[in-house]
Structure formats: C-alpha cells, structure tokens
C-alpha cells in the first residue's frame, strides 16, 4: 500500500456544527477579532499606533468606491484559487499547488494573448482564457496522476511543482517570451491590444475576470449541491473505499476534481494577466495560491462563504498598501496579521474548540 496521508487527515468541517446557524458565523468573526487584537499588540510592540493603523487599513480596503473596486479586483484570483482548493478538498485531497497552477495559467494566457495578431478580439480573449484553464488543469493533473498511479503523496508533489512552475516562468520571461524593449525586471511581451478583459465599470479596476469568478462560484455550488458529479466527488472525499464499492470510479473522480481545481487556479492566472497586469512578470503572484488555502478554510470549503472570505483577505491586502502609506507601517507587518488571521480561523474551526462551543451552547439551553 502506498502511503496516503490525505485520507485520514482530521476533518476540517464536522458535519453537524451547531444548532443555531448564528454560531457558524459567530466563530469565524470571533476568531478574526482575536487576530486583530493580537495584531494590535504586535503593532504596539513595534512602536506604531494600532488605531491609526487599523483605520488606515479600513480606509484603504473599503473606504471609498475606488478602494472597494481595488479590493474586489484583488479578490478575483483569491476566489478562483480558493474555489479550486475547496473543490479538490471535497474530493479528499489537498491541493497546495495553486501557486504553480496559477503561474502555468498566466504563462499559457500570455503565450496565446501576446501573439497571433489578426484574430478577432473576443475570440482571441476566449482562446487565451481557455489556454490558461487547460494549462492550470494539466499542471494539477500531473500530481493527481502520480498519486493515482504511483501513490506519490500529492501534498508534497504539488508543493514541489510550485517551485518548478516558478522557475519555468522565470526562464520563459528571460528567454523565449522576453519583451523586445528595455525593462528593469525580466518581463514578457505585452498582451496584444484588444485582448485584455474589458472593464465592467469604466474608471474602476473591475474586469471580466470578476464575472468568471462569480460564475465559477455559482457553478461550483450548483455542481456540489445538485449534480451526481458533486455527489460522487463528496463520496470519494469521505471514503474512497466505500465509493469504490458503490460503483464509483474513485480514481477517475479524483483526477477530474484535481483537473478542475487546477484549471480554476489557471483561470486566476489569466485574470491577473489579461485583467490587470497586461504582461507576465517574474514572480507576478508569489503568495496568492497560498493565501487561497486560508480563503478556502475560512469559507468552510463552501462556495459562497469562500467568496466572502476572499473579499476579506483581499481587503487585508489592499488595506496593507494604505497602512504602509498612511500609518508608515512596513508591509510585512500586514503579512503577519494575515497569518494571525489564518491561525485564528484554524483554531476556531478545530474540533476541540467546536466541542467546547457546542458544550457551552448545550448548557445555555438547559439554563
């Protein structure tokens, strides 16, 4: 038997959580409040003013329409990657390779979108998006195949493939798809005119990628809730052996889930390149794929909640820029606060804390 850690990982989301639906929201909120307090202590210790810092964070993330649109734009790749991770998780596997899959998506998008002038704009755009979708999916299919065929631990192979993808992008932008003109950092040639995603609202950062992300969210909800595919994915995730006995081809479902998981991350890469950055830069999204793990976790692996949590993490990210500008805080400090939020969410969703919460709720009832 091949080693298989993912099958017996602790359940992240116990089935019956609480009788009161309010508690499902109360715990994540509470955990974020605790993280914010812990963050305030760190900010104080570093000699800055936490109130000033947090008000800058709030202003920078949702302070006005411009900033809000910036936050929503930042949420798009987080949401797509987060949905992908959630989908793979439902099939019982951890996909930590969203970084690499997103890079491959971005690479495929620029290769198609930066060449082949003469195609009609909308078709060109569609083809570039499709290329990113397929590239991300195939990059995720590789570790899934290694797992199914050779029993290689997918957690470790997806991480290792992240590094391979990062170096591949570095190589491509320094060589084969290098931009013609002079540039400071290694950069690819630009996306051709007319192939960029159109803006949804003029003067804002909102682009077509947002529509893709929201569509993916709704489609995933629909698939998981109402189709046999969703049902099969969930059964495989809960018990692979039982799924086999029930006549489900577990390996096939697993491969499919991983493909779609990766293709959503690939789509995130396309959204970054075609929606905003307009060219491929080495290291263009260094931590989005990792942050998306926290996004998926905070959202409890449920599509709509993943959407909310993507917005939250995006707010932290855009707010960080304002915090740096207004309150003069180093940007890495915000990274620390983000990690605190992840740990707090993890603690709040841990079986031990849920047990305690449930017990307290039970006692409240009797009372």
């Amino acid at each position: 038997m091949a080693e298989d850690v993912s099958q017996n990982l602790a359940p992240l989301k116990p089935k019956a959580r609480f009788n009161l639906p309010i508690a499902n929201i109360a715990l994540p909120v509470l955990s974020i409040v605790i993280a914010a307090l812990a963050g305030a202590v760190i900010i104080l210790l570093m000699g800055y003013d936490p109130i000033k810092a947090y008000s800058a964070l709030a202003q920078g993330s949702f302070g006005n329409l411009m900033q809000t649109s910036e936050t929503v734009k930042t949420a798009v790749p987080l949401l797509l990657c987060g949905l992908g991770i959630a989908f793979a998780f439902q099939s019982g596997a951890f996909n930590i390779g969203a970084v690499g899959q997103m890079y491959m998506g971005g690479l495929a998008a620029i290769i198609v979108a930066g060449q082949f002038a003469g195609l009609p704009g909308w078709l060109h755009m569609l083809l570039a998006t499709l290329a990113a979708f397929v590239a991300g999916g195939l990059w995720a299919l590789l570790p899934a195949f290694l797992k199914v065929r050779y029993g290689s631990n997918e957690i470790i192979s997806t991480i290792l493939l992240n590094y391979v993808a990062i170096y591949l992008v570095d190589y491509m932008v320094a060589g084969p798809i290098k931009s013609g003109g002079f540039s400071g950092a290694p950069t690819s040639f630009p996306v051709l005119a007319g192939v960029m995603y159109p803006k949804l609202v003029p003067q804002t950062q909102l682009h077509l990628g947002l529509v893709f992300a929201l569509a993916a969210m709704v489609i995933m909800f629909f698939i998981m809730q109402y189709t046999t595919l969703g049902q099969r994915v969930r059964i495989v995730g809960q018990n692979r052996v039982a799924a086999g006995h029930a006549g489900i081809r577990a390996d096939r479902v697993f491969l499919l889930a991983f493909f779609f998981s990766g293709s959503l991350a690939g789509l995130a890469g396309a959204a970054e390149i075609l929606g905003y950055q307009a060219r491929l830069i080495s290291g263009f999204a260094p931590s989005t794929g990792y942050d998306a793990i926290a996004v998926a976790l905070l959202g409890g692996f449920a599509p709509f909640m993943v959407g909310v949590s993507a917005l939250f993490f995006a707010g932290l990210q855009t707010g960080a820029v304002a915090m740096e500008a207004i309150a003069k805080l180093p940007a890495q400090l915000v990274d620390l606060i983000r990690v605190l939020a992840i740990l707090a969410v993890l603690a709040a969703s841990s079986p031990r804390v849920l047990e305690i919460a449930r017990k307290m709720q039970g006692e409240d009832r009797k009372w």
Binding site: N8, V164, D170
Partner: protein
C-alpha cells in the same frame, strides 16, 4: 502477499540505473564531437572530490531537517512546517551569531526558535486537533513574513556582513588523503555531528523503549493509550524535539552557504524537499540520509553546470533538485508505508 519479482525495490533501482547508463552511452555514441567534449567535462566535474564535498555540504541542512521531520512523522504528526522552522532557525542563527560573535550561541538560539515554532504547531495539531497541513502552511507563511520583516529592520542600514561561522576541521593524515581528504575530511564540525546523528537516531528509534513508545503512538495511538502511554504527551515531546533539530538545521543552512550570510527566503523550499526525503527514505534515518544526499548531488551538479557554462539557462538548472525529488517520490515511494495514524489527531476516551 507475494510480490512480483520485478516490483522488488532493488531490481527496480538496478534496472533504472542500468537503463540510464545504457541510454547515456547510446546518446554519446551518436553525439557530435562538441557534445562529447561537454560530456567529458561533465564527467570531470562528477569525478572531482569537490563535487562530493559540495554535495555533502548541501545535503546536511536537509538531513538535519529530515531527521527532525522523521521524529514528528513517526509520532503521527505531519510536520510540513519544516520549511518555517528551517528559515526562522537560519535567521536566528545568523543574527545571534552576528551579535554575540559565537556560532555556537547562534546554533543554540536557532534550536530554541525551532522549539518555539514546534510548540505552536503542537498546540494547534495535538491540543486543538486542527488540520496539520493548514497549521504548517500558516507557519510557513508566518516564517517568510517574520524573517523578512526582522531582517529589514535589523540590517536595512548596514553593509552586508558575514556572521562568524564554524571553521573547517583538519585531521592529521586523513585530511591529506588523495580524493577522500577533500571529499570527506575537510568539513566543519556541523557536518560530522549531523552524520553522527544518523546512527544515534537509528538507535533511539529502534533500540530504546522510548523509540518504541514513539513509534507505537504513530502506529496505533489507541493501543498505546490502552497500555498506559500518554499519547498526546509523547506527541508533544516528539514535535518539540523535531522543532529543535529543524531549527538547528537552519544554522547548518547558514554555514552551508560558505559565507555565513542570510537572505530573504534563504530556505527556498528545502524544508519541503526534506519532508519528501522522509517519505521516500521510507521513514528511516538512513533512508532520509540517502534521500537528502540525492538532493545534495543534484544541487552540487546544478551549481557546477552553471559554472561550467553549459548551454542550459540557469533557471532550468535551478529546477533540477525539485524535479529529481519528484522523480524520487515516484520511483522509491511505491512500497513505502508511513505510520498508520499519521495525520490523525488522538482523542482520549472520556476527555473533551
């Protein structure tokens, strides 16, 4: 179950090696004069004692991390936070050695920093029973941000400086041996201590009662609990020990750079490679050593090929260690079996 003869590991390994050699020979026979010259150059690189020396230096930080990971793994807790502990350990080792002037104090501080991270991981995974992978991912992100922040604050206005490091040892007679002297007997003390740790670890894990306790906790916590072993306490000790060792591996990483310096994201995924080495080393100290040597050889080859000026872009060469590790996972992991309870938190009856 009777295994088919071709699935036996040694048959598989030998066949692979022979196939690769035959393939190389055929390619060289068909190759042009120019390629043959390059190939001869590469063989000269591989034959030099400096190659083995560099491979050993590159492998040792990973070896320490892998041995640390192994302890935690055998107790049933995945320690994917190796990367975080290594990076923080490297930063602390560099800073403390720089401030105190002693690499030994730096090494001790690195161990303590790893222990603290281990404690956090243990609280989350053992006490709270949170998901072990997510806890590690969060710790890794934390390490990246915290070391970058602290490094900028401490060293932003200073010129680059090397911290005091460990000097290379010199053994009478041995260090003067032809080939072996350079390859094996001119290293610093960390290398020898790490290598010594392999048999020590093997003895502790397989020949002492504590080792048996540790492995039983990872294999069948319920049974261990029944015979009176405090499962969660053993796991705590294992993770703390693991953290300390991996923190020290950060110190080894700083000294392996040769110039005793730190830079942002110095570990660059080596913690994950060490984690993989535990798995394809089949959860065994000697296997972990062989696994990390595979990385060391790949890394040394990659650096030398860059220096040799092979017509391959350096970014592709940088990929080499990661690709080798993935291949190793595929080739060597087929019949590897980890601790049965790996990844599952333990709930004591009646508690909680």
């Amino acid at each position: 179950m009777v295994r088919a003869w071709w699935s036996r590991p040694w048959v598989r390994t030998t066949t692979t090696v022979v196939a690769v050699l035959v393939g190389l020979w055929i390619v060289l026979e068909l190759a042009s004069e120019e390629t043959r010259n390059i190939a001869n150059g590469i063989f000269a690189i591989l034959g030099a004692p400096e190659f083995v020396k560099a491979a050993l230096i590159a492998a040792v930080p990973l070896l320490l991390a892998a041995l640390g990971g192994l302890i935690s793994e055998l107790s049933g807790v995945l320690n994917m936070a190796l990367e975080a502990m290594m990076l923080v350990g490297a930063f602390v080792a560099y800073t403390v050695a720089d401030q105190s002037g002693s690499p030994w104090i730096g090494l001790a501080a690195a161990g303590v920093s790893g222990l603290v991270l281990g404690l956090v991981h243990a609280v989350f995974t053992v006490s709270l029973r949170a998901n072990q992978v997510v806890s590690a991912v969060a710790l890794n992100l934390f390490a990246l941000a915290a070391t970058a922040l602290a490094f900028r604050i401490l060293y932003i206005n200073k010129a680059f400086q090397a911290a005091p490091g460990f000097d290379a040892l010199w053994f009478p007679m041995l260090s003067d041996l032809p080939y072996l002297g350079v390859a094996l007997f001119q290293h610093n003390i960390i290398i020898y201590l790490a290598l010594l740790l392999i048999p020590v670890m093997w003895f502790i894990l397989y020949k002492t009662s504590w080792g048996l306790t540790l492995r039983s906790v990872g294999e069948h916590p319920m049974a261990a609990n029944t015979v009176g072993i405090k499962v969660n306490r053993v796991r705590y000790i294992a993770i703390l020990l693991s953290g300390t060792l991996v923190g020290i591996s950060g110190s080894a990483l700083v000294s392996a750079s040769g110039i005793n310096a730190f830079q942002e994201n110095l570990s660059a995924g080596r913690g994950f490679i060490a984690f993989a080495a535990v798995i394809f080393g089949r959860y065994d100290p000697v296997g972990a050593f062989l696994g990390t040597m595979l990385f060391g050889l790949g890394d040394a080859l990659q650096i030398r090929l860059q220096a040799y000026g092979v017509e391959v872009p350096y970014q592709l060469l940088l990929m080499l260690p990661y690709v080798i590790t993935i291949l190793a996972l595929v080739v060597f992991m087929r019949n590897a079996r980890g601790p049965a309870a790996s990844g599952t938190p333990f709930v004591e009856e009646g508690a909680g």
